[in-house]
Amino acid sequence: MGRYILRRFLQGIPLLFIISIVLFVLMMNMGDPIATMGGRTLTRPADRLRLTRQLGLDKPIYIQYIYWLVGNDWAKVDLDGDGIAESTGTRHGILRGDFGTSLVNRGVPVIQVIAERLPNTLLLMVASEIVVIVGALLVGIYSALRQYSAFDHFITAILFIGYSMPIFFVGLLSMYIFSVLFKRWGLPYLPTVGMFDPTVGESVGQVLLHMILPVLTMSFVSFAAYSRYIRSTMLEVMSQDYIRTARSKGLPRVSVLFIHALKNASLPIVTIVGLDLPFLLGGAVVTERIFAWPGTGRLFLDHVTRSDLPVVMGILMLIAFAVVVFQIITDIVYAWLDPRIRFEA
């Protein structure tokens, strides 16, 4: 088991490097590298030349990649073009947290720009994931137990429609119903913009209230997909021989269900939950746009449209890193849960 964990980590590292290379290549071809790395757009040739040298952009591409990774403040740079390197570079490299400075927010380090918005997105994502898991478990299991019933057929139909819906449809529709229509009908209605009402101030209650619609939007499609998956997993598990054995021993239904069935069903469920992160992140972009939620998704959109490459690359790298790490964690949790892997014969 320990060897398995080690192996997974060792596999993850080259993967991250490859991703970083892909992104680096993308970045080099997408805009003005000087502006990207230097954090400001310069027009005077003399300034550009100086900055080019300072940032190490006159070096061959593989050297540039290394500078991007670990910076060039440990190397000497020839600033005045006389062939003698005498000054030190200014970059620290992404492995040390230097993603450059934002072009839109002048001079502010990319890390800081992202860090300001990240918690807001995390809030939505964690809340959505909890809603999805709890909801899907309840609905999926109950539906599987009541197979062939009217409830099961009804729920299956709703779930199918639900998971075919585009996220923005869920968002716009819920906005329309719970905010516009409710208001029209004189019912208490839900807010749709931002994290809190500026006139009331930022409080836990306000944030929670403002979270309801975005979380609903982000979680609905995933909830539908997982409920279906959990239902079919449960059905498959319940038809296994060992369940028949458990029943033949006269064990009470609850015991059969929760101990025998669920433990087996949880394995594929863990996999799916772990691999859902990319989808959740994508959903955040759309949701934050609809509800004007100040998170990283919206940040990404805003800065892409304004060509702020450093921030864009920073977010992409961060996301890729998160996804890879999460995958590794999922694999490890799965291996730990399944005794056939944990105790290899």
């Binding site: 029943r247 033949s248 021993k249 006269g250 101990i259 105790f343």
Partner: protein, 329 residues
């Protein structure tokens, strides 16, 4: 003397999108205390389904038990609620299944799977349950039992897994053990070991056994009485010796004749039964074997023969023709 288990006219059906499957069509049999009844028949004849029906382990829907009475110690099991059946299963009547690989839960230790019956049915605490589990594992021949309690099923071989299943079945000293083809998935040598084990245990514990199989060789080694099933009906029922020496139903005699024998001439073709079993989707009418039977008469096609005693010693057959004399009943 009342039998331990007395089944009368049991009918089980399955409602599927393709139609109704008539799996068990009115069978009656009994098992006395301490005796071993073998149930023989080809795949799909209803032997497993009938025993699962006895314990109400059929999934409803799509299955349904359409009629009959199952008397266990005088009480009709079919009238019992799920709760009441939970008390019977594992405690009074235990069952072991064909494939030991899939019949054990892969994510629970075998210790847990054995002790849970003890804790649920006998109210034991974990410690005493563990002790008893170790005793049981010893009884079925698992070496180093106290350490193996914490092992998962995938760490055992097929034969050992089946022994574990037997240990699991014995936990609460059931009066009746139903064994659904427990050796079919095992090697021949392991088969012999398991059969030997069951023989030894049933004597020790005084347990009745219903042994389902399609292998006539196994039957000879373990049974007191045999019942032969075909297409959801019982066609013959007799003491084991009587069955082998004097089969009275055309199907049984064909089955026995189809067995390759060492003492037969080598150059003769093996005798097989022409045709195929009837489709269970058709509601049975008349004798199910009529189409393939060499003794068939007109009556066989229209009227279903019922199990009736013929001769001495509780030898029952369901046939209109006496295959010895050719006379009709």
């Amino acid at each position: 003397m009342t039998s331990l288990l007395d089944v009368k006219d049991l009918k089980t059906r399955f409602l599927t999108p393709e139609g109704t499957v008539y799996a068990v069509n009115g069978i009656s049999f009994h098992v006395d205390e301490g005796e071993t009844l073998a149930v023989v028949g080809e795949s799909g004849c209803g032997k497993s389904v009938s025993m699962l029906s006895v314990l109400q382990l059929i999934l409803v829907p799509p299955g349904e038990i359409a009629g009959g009475v199952v008397l266990y110690r005088g009480q009709d099991l079919l009238k019992k609620s799920e709760r009441e059946m939970e008390a019977i299963r594992g405690q009074e009547i235990a069952m072991i299944f064909q494939d030991p690989m899939t019949s054990l839960n892969p994510v629970l230790t075998i210790g847990k799977q054995i002790t849970e019956s003890l804790r649920v049915h006998m109210g034991m605490d974990q410690k005493s349950a563990n002790k008893r589990a170790v005793e049981l594992l010893e009884m079925v021949g698992i070496s180093d039992p106290s350490h193996r309690l914490g092992d998962y099923p995938h760490l055992f071989s097929g034969g050992m897994r089946q022994r574990v299943m037997i240990a699991m079945a014995l936990t609460c000293n059931p009066s009746l053990l139903i064994a659904d083809e427990p050796t079919t998935a095992l090697d021949v040598t392991i088969q012999a070991q398991i059969i030997e084990l069951v023989i030894r245990i049933r004597q020790q514990v005084g347990m009745a056994v219903i042994w389902i199989t399609h292998d006539l060789g196994v039957v000879a080694g373990i049974a007191d009485r045999v019942m032969v099933m075909y297409a959801g009906f019982i066609v013959e029922e007799a003491n084991v010796n009587a069955l082998y020496e004097n089969p009275r139903h055309p199907y049984t005699s064909s089955l026995l004749e189809a067995l390759p024998r060492v003492d037969r001439r080598r150059d003769r073709r093996l005798k097989s039964i022409p045709g195929a079993p009837p489709s269970l989707l058709v509601e049975p009418h008349g004798c199910p074997f009529a189409v393939r039977c060499e003794f068939v008469i007109e009556r066989c096609r229209t009227e279903n023969p019922f199990l009736t005693a013929v001769g001495e010693n509780h030898h029952n057959i369901a046939c209109w023709v006496d295959i010895k004399t050719g006379a009709q009943r």
